[in-house]
Structure formats: structure tokens, C-alpha cells
């Protein structure tokens, strides 16, 4: 058994973690992998950024501050 997951599996778990709590073992292996792998840390940061930005984007309709009430292309 591999001590840690592959990067591919880590990406799946990073995504899953945004939706539901991970099990103890997956969570532990994820943490171990992240400490050793800068690629996956960057993916973690990117997915988190996309998550935060998406939430803002989807709740505001479009880019923030772009709703001054001017019907530019009605």
C-alpha cells in the first residue's frame, strides 16, 4: 500500500473536501502528501481560489461592481 495518494487522487480529494468532510485516513494521507508536494499545494490554492471566486460571481450575477444600473447593451 502506498503511504500517500497520487497527485491525481489528491486533486480529487481536494475537490471532495470542498463538499463534504473526508474520512480520517484520506484526510491524513492528503495532509502528508501536501506537506511533500508543491504541485498539489498549488492545486489546493487554485481550487480554493476558484471556489471563493465562483461563489461571489454566481451570487452577484457577474463581475462585482459591474451593476451600476447602466443598461449598456439593452
Amino acid at each position: 500500500m502506498n503511504l500517500t495518494h497520487s497527485c491525481r487522487r489528491v486533486a480529487e480529494l481536494l475537490s471532495q473536501r470542498l463538499d463534504e468532510p473526508l474520512g480520517f485516513v484520506d484526510s491524513l494521507r492528503l495532509r502528508v502528501h501536501l506537506t511533500m508536494c508543491s504541485n498539489c499545494r498549488n492545486v489546493e490554492q487554485q481550487l480554493a481560489g476558484i471556489e471563493a471566486l465562483s461563489a461571489r460571481l454566481l451570487s452577484s450575477g457577474l463581475a462585482d461592481g459591474d451593476d451600476s444600473g447602466q443598461a449598456t447593451s439593452a
Binding site: 495518494h5 497520487s6 497527485c7 491525481r8 487522487r9 486533486a11 480529487e12 475537490s15 471532495q16 470542498l18 463538499d19 463534504e20 508543491s38 504541485n39 498539489c40 498549488n42 492545486v43 490554492q45 487554485q46 481550487l47 481560489g49 476558484i50 471556489e51 471566486l53 465562483s54 461563489a55 461571489r56 460571481l57 454566481l58 451570487s59 452577484s60 450575477g61 457577474l62 463581475a63 462585482d64 461592481g65 459591474d66 451593476d67 451600476s68 444600473g69 447602466q70 443598461a71 449598456t72 447593451s73 439593452a74
Partner: protein, 212 residues
Amino acid sequence: MTILERHPPDGAIPPATPGRVTAAPPLEAQLPELRRRLLRHARLAVHDHGLAEDLVQDTLIAVLEQQDKRRGDASLLTWATAILKHKVADWYRSPTRRRMVQFRADDESVDDAIDALYDADGAYVDPVPAWQQPENRTEQRQMMTILDRCVTFLPQQTGRVFLMREWLGFETSEISQRLGLSAENCRTILHRARMALRDCMQRDWIGAKAST
């Protein structure tokens, strides 16, 4: 459509109602643009144009009826988007809604793009660069605009599941239930959506920035 027919032609925006402190044009003048934006949003979330039109129409009626309840600090679009969100969520939760399970092959191109990231051992073929945070408000808005476009590029079914999660705020268990998906399938689709957005942002935001 009846609402829009009452809207004056372009350029003939009526004077603001006396007593309104806001400088924004009157609500009715903003409806066509608002409708366009809401429709775009609704289509991403339901993928049935007729249904999207109906939900947006209901939303616009609610906007007109409840405009007094709108808090001053929420933009019209944000407020209307929140109303639309409830209407879309209600539709997904309505018992009469027919179950729709049509995950089509169009989603596979995304899988290919994900496959291409990894070697046979599941390690990244190319180093994953760190993304710089946007430096100022202009960059932040550019980033939002690009993400907006990336979301519309998602394959239909993938995009719909993503919006159910990230916009409607459904738990994955509820998405699975409403769409008749397995939990594993739902997880895979959400992961695919996020990786596709990552790929799109890498190309159109980070990549474009690097080349300027």
C-alpha cells in the same frame, strides 16, 4: 414579455421618480439588461430554454412587485439573482418536476484534459505554477470576467451540477437525489468542473497575464 413591452425604447429613459435618492435609472429601464443577465444565469442552471425563460419571468415579476423590500446597499442584479436562485432551487425541489438524467458524452473532452495533466503514476507531467493573487481591483474584475466565461464553457451537464452546488448551495447528497446520480458520479462531475475551471483560468487568466 408583457413587462418588456411596457419598457420605453432605447434612449427614451423616463426621468427618475421624484423622491428617489439613487442616481440609477428607474427600474423599468433596467429590465431588459437585467433580463438578459438573469437568463444567461438561469440557462446555466437548468438547460431548458423554455424553463429558464419562465423562471426569469417569474423573477422579474417578483422584482417589480417587491422592489420596496430591496435593501439599498444590494445592487439590483445581486438582489434579482438571489430571487432567481430561490426560484431555481424551488423548481429542483418541486415534487412535480420530472427527473432528468441526461449526462451526455459532451463531458468527455474535460476528462481528456484532466488525463493529460498526469502521467501513468498520477503525478503531474508539468510543474503546477502558483497563481498570483490579483493585484488590484481592476485585475480582480478581469479575473471575475474570465471566470464567468470559463463557467459558460463548461459542458452543459457539468455546468449544471456545478451551479447546483456553488450557486444554489445544494449538498452533494441532494444533487445526487435530484438528478438521480450516484454519490460517486456526482463527486466526479464536481471535480471535473473544478479542474476544467482551473485549466481555463490557467490558460485565459494566468497564461494571458504572463504573455503581456
